[in-house]
Symmetry: C2
Subunit: 204 residues, 2 copies
Amino acid sequence: MASNPACIEFWFDFGSPYSYLSMMRIDALTAAAGLTLIYRPFLLGPIFKALGYDTSPFVAHPEKGRYMWRDMQRQSEKQGLPFHKPSLFPRNALLATRVAMLGENTPWIRNYCRAIMRQNFEADQDISLRSNVVSALHGLVPDADALVVAAGDESNKQRLRQQVAIAQHLGIFGAPTFFVGDEMYWGNDRLDDAIAQAKQAGRL
Amino acid sequence: MASNPACIEFWFDFGSPYSYLSMMRIDALTAAAGLTLIYRPFLLGPIFKALGYDTSPFVAHPEKGRYMWRDMQRQSEKQGLPFHKPSLFPRNALLATRVAMLGENTPWIRNYCRAIMRQNFEADQDISLRSNVVSALHGLVPDADALVVAAGDESNKQRLRQQVAIAQHLGIFGAPTFFVGDEMYWGNDRLDDAIAQAKQAGRL
């Protein structure tokens, strides 16, 4: 996928707990490795629907959900993150993701994405609220309100639909998912392998 | 679950690729850590059925299956294992598992389980065949044929059904799954965390 081999694509969903774990460490890890990090926000909802789920598999299968929250607790502790189980799961990330689409290649994407993740998984705030999305942009862009309005433009909505279609085409079935060239890595547990692969590709 | 905290329960299915990855390293890892390893053979089939699957999720969701085989290739390379994708998946492990039930607390369980896993995931042999199950017991027990006959006793069949019921009761939804006391760890990726937890529990 990536033209430059020394880069890594990070496909994430703002409602995905394991995407949060990756979001909070991927920037430092890729910077330390000298890799270009490409943010690829998308929505898991349509992906899950195509797999036959009306909601998150963690909701559809309560055993999986129970385990996942315990695992999240342990893993975030390991990463030193102040994780707090959201009182609503999964949260509607449509607006937040549309805004992220506008930031894909901008300097503010990193801090914006981390702010949204922190709202959802640390502060238990509703990321579907326009006020919270605006607040996540605070200090990052000249006019946060204008940006949120622009995120609702038909052309941007269409770009997000295309992004999801690309995810589907790539065979993505969950998040986070990383790509190094054509190599796909699924889950926060594979981030280190993906980085190692990107470093190796960059040396060739 | 375990009365002795310095022990770890290993729930596995002979047809599960990631159970193979754990099977081939768990004995050495737990021995090095001074932990007691308890083998808990079971069947994923009834577990998946209860989750709404007629077959393995890797078959039901081809995207997941495609990714899993690639991931297995990478992970077994990392572990230095001669993994070979089975030409039939998932294989029927009923007889092999019934035999394992008879070995749960015996010295031969380890080598028997590794032999079955090697047949399935290295030699691409059909582990549902009586002759292959007998061959896996070769040199481990005085009378392999008699043991395979005993595995078909109604009482042993019933023990395996109970084992699956216990797995379900424990909230197991996949394999491998590890238990350290009440703490559950799912997947080969969590084996090291489970061992660390068992070591810590053993020091208390």
